[in-house]
């Protein structure tokens, strides 16, 4: 197991190096100069040049790459061109929104999906199964930004139960913040829950077809007990992978939802960064996200080892 983890770590490091190169090259290709963007229509060329110097945009590409990587290794992600604050601070502030949002959405989707998937599997072919399958198909087909829009119209504009968006900040109290994240989390969770419920269902069905389920029944376990004591844990293994993938998607993939609800999250930071050519932010945040995903996948791999004893020894 140890050598397995070590070898995975080496692969992880190599992936990160490749990823950083890809990101750097892509960012280098993005046209548009941050300085002239910041100074607007009537700026004189010498003013732009002065600002470029101030932002530290000089140097050859390899030089800049090494400076960027070197900085990141020391925890220095650079300074945002537009905000003029350290990127690390910006990211931390934004994560305070994105991370809870992702966790909420994931919790919501998992809490819905696992029982629903289990229920559908246990009622295979019955009306309960059919309606779950139909609803989840619908859930997958609904674009989440559209769903978000409908949620806003109903719950913010018509009923006024929630505000239409925005985020008060955790220092304004936990409850208002959670409330502000509720609608976005629901919008994000719907398609995820649908996918997860279907994975759960087919995973349970797959497991229910296994010989050891028949063994358990032959031992005298009731259907329900067989499901909970034998099927569930085995069925959760593929579900775990999907949850891992979804989490990384939720952290970065919420850009559109963050826009609909004008939440100051990580996704919108990147989006803004791109449109405002705050490329240092984009570069560093994308790198962080990639790192997070690779790390999550790595951890899921390790978690497998605990969920499935067959994988513990390699």
């Amino acid at each position: 197991m140890l050598s397995y983890i070590l070898s995975r770590l080496v692969a992880l490091a190599l992936s990160l190096v490749v990823a950083s190169l890809v990101i750097f090259v892509m960012i280098e290709m993005v046209p548009g100069d941050p300085a002239s963007f910041m100074l607007g229509l009537n700026a004189a060329p010498d003013t732009v040049a002065a600002l470029r110097a101030e932002l530290g945009l000089g140097g050859s590409p390899p030089e800049r790459y090494l400076r960027w990587i070197g900085g990141m290794l020391q925890g220095d992600f650079g300074t945002s061109y537009t905000y003029r604050t350290p990127v690390a601070e910006l990211v931390t502030a934004r994560l305070a929104v994105s991370l809870p949002l992702a966790v909420m959405a994931l919790l919501l989707s998992t809490l819905i999906a696992i029982p629903v998937g289990l229920y559908a599997a246990s009622r295979r072919g019955g009306p309960g199964d059919w309606s779950v399958m139909g609803l989840t198909q619908l859930g997958i087909a609904v674009p989440n930004f559209w769903f978000a829009m409908i949620l806003v119209v109903i719950f913010a504009i018509q009923l006024r139960w929630f505000s239409a968006g925005g985020f008060p900040g955790w220092d304004q109290g936990v409850w208002p913040s959670l409330k502000a994240l509720t609608l976005p989390a629901v919008a994000l969770a719907l398609p995820q829950a649908s996918i997860l419920a279907r994975v759960m269902r087919s995973s349970v069905l797959e497991v229910l077809g296994q010989d050891y389920i028949r063994t358990a029944r032959a031992k005298g376990l009731s259907r329900r007990r067989t499901l909970t004591d034998h099927a569930l844990r085995n069925a959760l293994i593929p579900v775990l992978t999907i949850i891992g993938l979804q989490f990384s998607f939720l952290i970065a993939g919420a850009i559109i939802i963050e826009n609909v609800f004008f939440l100051p999250g990580l996704g919108r930071l990147v989006f803004q960064g791109i449109t405002q050519r705050d490329l240092i932010v984009v570069e560093s945040v994308v790198m962080l996200l990639v790192f997070a995903v690779i790390l999550v996948n790595f951890l899921v791999d390790i978690a497998y080892g605990f969920a499935d004893p067959r994988l513990r020894r390699r």
């Binding site: 087909a141 996704g267 990147v270």
Partner: protein, 274 residues
Amino acid sequence: MRPRLPVTLVAGLALTALFAAAALLSLVWTPHAVDVLNIAARLQPPGGDHLLGTDHFGRDMLSMLMVGARTSIAVAIVAVGIGMALGVPLGLLAAANHGGVVDDLVMRGNDLVFAFPALVIAILITAVFGPSAFNAILAIGIFNTPVFARVTRGGALSVWTQDFILAARVSGKGAARISLEHILPNIASLLIVQGTIQFSLGILAEAGLSYVGLGAQPPLPSWGRMLADSQTMISFAPHLAVLPGLAIIATVLGLNLTGDGLRDHLDPRLRRPS
């Protein structure tokens, strides 16, 4: 005795066919022209001369939806095509080289692409090359590639363990030839099912990209942009935002049902006599 077609497959095919037909029809005929604006006739509710009403420029919604179907379907199909064209050979290669360096490289590359936040990269691509349907296709296609590579490799690996592959090797056939002659036909149904699912995801992705303004550019109608353009009017002209939304849902639903139905229908496990 061929098994009966699953209900989901029939429903899915019917929905898909409806939108595909609308898209094809729009090539030769639409109820009204979509490139002529008539500001005076804008925001008409459904009914009357314009069956589904008009948009904020006075264009006929039905015609817009038909041409929009064409855009969405074309973008998704080409993107899936790119994903298949790149992913399937990579997957075959990796499977043929199972456990080797090439396999490792392909799989690591896959993981790497998966690790990138897709939407962010799509936005970057359009920042580099400008927003257009073509670049939307490119972005969606790139992220389809590892999906197909992974599915192909998985399917191919299980075919590789079959005895008939050994028989082919005994007959002196090389890995490339075996991949084409034996592996590919046997994972075709898998790829068709995955292709259908990616197709529906492609429709959603195109809608999402157009929604943020990175997909097809005006005057070419696109469902996502129709949604984005009209959502501020949802409270006084709800049909503008609701109709494209429903079109997206129905198409994606149709494709997903088709994919699911095909999976049930083509599942080789159901074929085997037991």
